[in-house]
Amino acid sequence: MTELSFVIELTILVLAAFLGFEVISKVPTMLHTPLMSGTNFIHGIVIVGAIIILGGADDTYLKIVGFVAMVLATANVVGGWFVTDRMLEMFKPRPEPGDKEPKK
């Protein structure tokens, strides 16, 4: 990618922070745990960095470091996503008559 200057990157960072605060403040308390695991999943984007490092590594040292980063980042992405999906699936409004568990 074209290299951006530090100041432009910093500008993007600050704008992203404001955007983040804006969007997150609309999330209801009820969904704060899924929010946390969902953002957990999003910081799994670090996997892109792991791919860049491991995919460009020449010597053994870099390969090892890149490989470990790759494992950690993948676990982050995959685990974060599945756990969030599992949780959000449980949030239901009034159960529909059809899927109510049988009463004893």
Binding site: G20, T33, G66, G79
Partner: protein
């Protein structure tokens, strides 16, 4: 292969849009799940874009690494119990931070240590914050999983040692910014940051975990954002910062809900304060009144409105499913049943909502503190199950109490209060609860699950 930098940039932008929308969709449980799927799409776009860049090699290692990570992630995510969600979140938090620190380590090596000041700054920050987040999250995980003592672990002069370690790590980081090229420097930053991460979470008690987990969440986000600066990757900068903002916001919310500052949580080692302060004056003639399941069942069955106040004790006893069943029975009898959720109920923000959702409680029955508090005066019975400090009226009146000023659920305003509790042991804050001495309060002692089961059969009989 993608060899056009503009196309690469656009694809990453698409990923960013997906992530922002995913968070936007979390504003309601109705479409939150769809949002997560959209986030997944964004991630796939980003990963594919990274893999398709020219000159990517070591495919075998990439595939093996991804396979191991996927296996760990899927198994972990599938197996975890909802009560264990906080430690799972801590774990995934940690691995993200660890990856960020490792990328900084690798990049410093690749540059041969020759960095401009801004590269040096990004590398140092990514290593420092990433490593703190990794180590801190692992300790938080171990504490929540009860691999190590959940109670505060303290030694004299701890805060000074912590500050010294952090200062040393920062000093070496500054040296890197100033142009230090030695490889040991970045290793030293990471090692010191790992030490700090361990030591800063060790003294923090179980009840403060919601704050700590939120804080670590913010750390990892910021570390990933710093990694974005290292690699000149906007998608990392933006996504990392979104997480940083979210974690920061949650940290502040949690601290506010406990009426404590973030610094106080980190340096204050709760549980130190107790003993003596805010002791319920048991000798002033008021005593605790115990009751039986049958009496409670009658009270509940003939109530118009019941508010259930669940706490972590309910989750520990795995009683949420039975509580739901009890609530269903009461509803069939025409009782209006609601759940009052305090922001710090559970071990992480919103934890109680997840536990109740798992037990199939419709989210329309769950009410936040500010929403439900005005309803307590019109409530016949407040049923407190395994909650303690969040119901303690001392938080309103007793200035000497450690929890003074903490927003609480106005349980004491209900016509009558039933507290289900294992024993008279004080809660996490280590203080007695005035509520138990209230003449309107009766106590139903015993394991929460067993008590609820007894209540269910008693309600069926009435």
């Amino acid at each position: 292969m993608i060899d056009n930098p503009d196309l690469t940039g656009l694809l990453y932008l698409a990923a960013i849009i997906c992530f922002v929308l995913a968070l936007r969709f979390l504003s309601s449980p109705k479409h939150a799940r769809r949002g997560n799927w959209l986030g997944g799409v964004g991630m796939i776009i980003a990963i594919a874009t990274a893999l398709l860049q020219e000159g990517i090699k070591n495919w075998v290692l990439i595939v093996i690494g991804a396979a191991i990570g996927t296996a760990v992630g899927v198994v972990g995510a599938r197996k975890v119990k909802m009560t264990a969600m906080p430690q799972m979140v801590a774990l995934f938090n940690g691995v993200g931070g660890g990856a960020a620190a490792l990328i900084a380590l690798a990049e410093f090596d690749e540059l041969g240590g020759e960095t401009t000041w801004d590269e040096g700054l990004s590398i140092a920050l990514s290593a420092l914050i990433g490593a703190i987040s990794f180590a801190g999250s692992m300790i938080a995980f171990a504490k929540l999983q009860e691999l190590i003592r959940g109670r505060p672990i303290v030694f004299p002069g701890q805060n000074y040692v912590n500050i010294a370690v952090l200062a040393a790590a920062s000093a070496i980081g500054i040296a890197i910014v100033a142009g230090l090229e030695e490889q040991w420097a970045i290793v030293a930053v990471i090692v010191l940051a790992l030490m700090f991460g361990v030591m800063f979470v060790l003294p923090i008690g179980g009840a403060d975990m919601p704050v700590v987990i939120s804080l670590l969440n913010a750390f990892t986000g910021i570390a990933v954002s710093a990694t974005g600066f290292v690699l000149n990757s906007t998608v990392l900068i933006v996504s990392g910062m979104l997480v940083g903002a979210s974690g920061t916001l949650l940290t502040l919310l949690m601290a506010k809900a406990m009426n404590r500052s973030v610094t106080n949580v980190i340096f204050g080692a709760f549980g130190q304060v107790q003993a003596g302060v805010g002791q319920a004056r048991a000798d002033d003639g008021r005593t605790v009144r115990a009751t039986s399941a049958d009496d409670v069942a009658v009270q509940l069955s003939f109530a118009r409105k019941v508010i259930v106040v669940p706490g972590y004790g309910m989750a520990v006893a795995q009683a949420q499913h039975d509580v739901r069943q009890l609530a269903d029975l009461l509803e069939e009898k025409g009782v209006d049943v609601r759940y009052a959720i305090h922001p710090v109920a559970g071990r992480m923000p919103g934890h109680m909502n997840v536990l109740l959702a798992e037990a199939n409680v419709p989210y329309t029955q769950l009410s936040e503190m500010d929403e439900i508090n005005p309803e307590f005066p019109q409530t016949d019975v407040a049923l407190v199950i395994g909650a303690n400090d969040v119901t303690n009226p001392a938080a309103r009146t007793d200035t000497s109490s450690p929890i003074y000023g903490m927003p609480i659920l106005d349980v004491d305003k209900a016509a009558s209060i039933i507290v289900m509790k294992r024993s008279m042991n004080p809660g996490f804050a280590g203080i007695d609860n005035e509520l138990y001495l209230d003449p309107k309060t009766t106590m139903l002692f015993g394991d929460a699950k067993e008590s609820v089961l007894k209540l269910i059969s008693a309600v069926k009989a009435t």
